[in-house]
Symmetry: C2
Subunit: 140 residues, 2 copies
């Protein structure tokens, strides 16, 4: 990992490590832009290679995300140690429910387990354009 | 709290409770839109009434947020109990570093403690337009 400045307390996480961290977790947050207003929703997800896959209900705000730029993020903070990290994936949402493209196949191969109750027939995939991450330590 | 559908497992959190939950926490995430692309950053925050206040460095992406629509979110999930909640605040970011308006005064009265290292001279306030939240329970 590379320090991002004179302080070694803030480090960039390389893309390969971002992917590994994403694979080790299952709860993240997606940001979508609706009429110029960003909104954030927690979702349970699964990775399929570099693709984030999750399920949502029809008629939900997330069911309107396909085709638009979205952001997916996970993070963790340990208050006792004063250390934390965050991983962000930027990309485009794809409706993978019925489509036959590679991204949709990959998304359907993943088995995200919805967190919240209710029917979630729509499968959304996020096709990534960029992975970034950083680790940080509380200033002493 | 009001159930949002036939299932009582998903409940809306009223605005007053959203504010109370925001006051009880200090780590959240802000979503900003940069060239149409939403991005999510974890930030350490403090509440000042209904205003979210946090600090950032000059030249960071968040220092360009003032004047734009942003979203602030916190959430928690208990895997053992299968229960969770999320609270989302939509609003507009304000540069509260030097300004004399009410929002800026309120933001400076709060004392957010930055999580990551580095100089963080810029104080950002989020003036809220809407608070929403929900509690959910894993389907049995």
């Amino acid at each position: 990992m590379k320090a991002t400045g004179p302080e070694a307390q803030l480090e960039e996480i390389p893309e390969a490590d971002c992917l590994e961290i994403l694979e080790q977790h299952s709860l993240g947050r997606i940001a979508v832009v609706i009429d110029g207003q960003p909104q954030i929703f927690p979702v349970n997800y699964a990775m399929s290679g570099r693709i984030v896959a999750f399920r949502t209900g029809s008629g939900t705000k997330l069911s309107h995300a396909p085709g638009s730029k979205v952001c997916f993020e996970i993070d963790e903070y340990d208050p006792a140690a004063g250390t934390g990290w965050s991983v962000m994936m930027q990309g485009v949402a794809v409706d993978a429910t019925d489509a036959f493209d590679d991204v949709s196949w990959a998304a359907r191969a993943a088995a995200p387990w919805p967190l919240a109750p209710g029917a979630k027939p729509i499968r959304i995939a996020i096709e990534p354009s960029q992975f970034t991450g950083r680790r940080f330590r509380r200033p002493a």
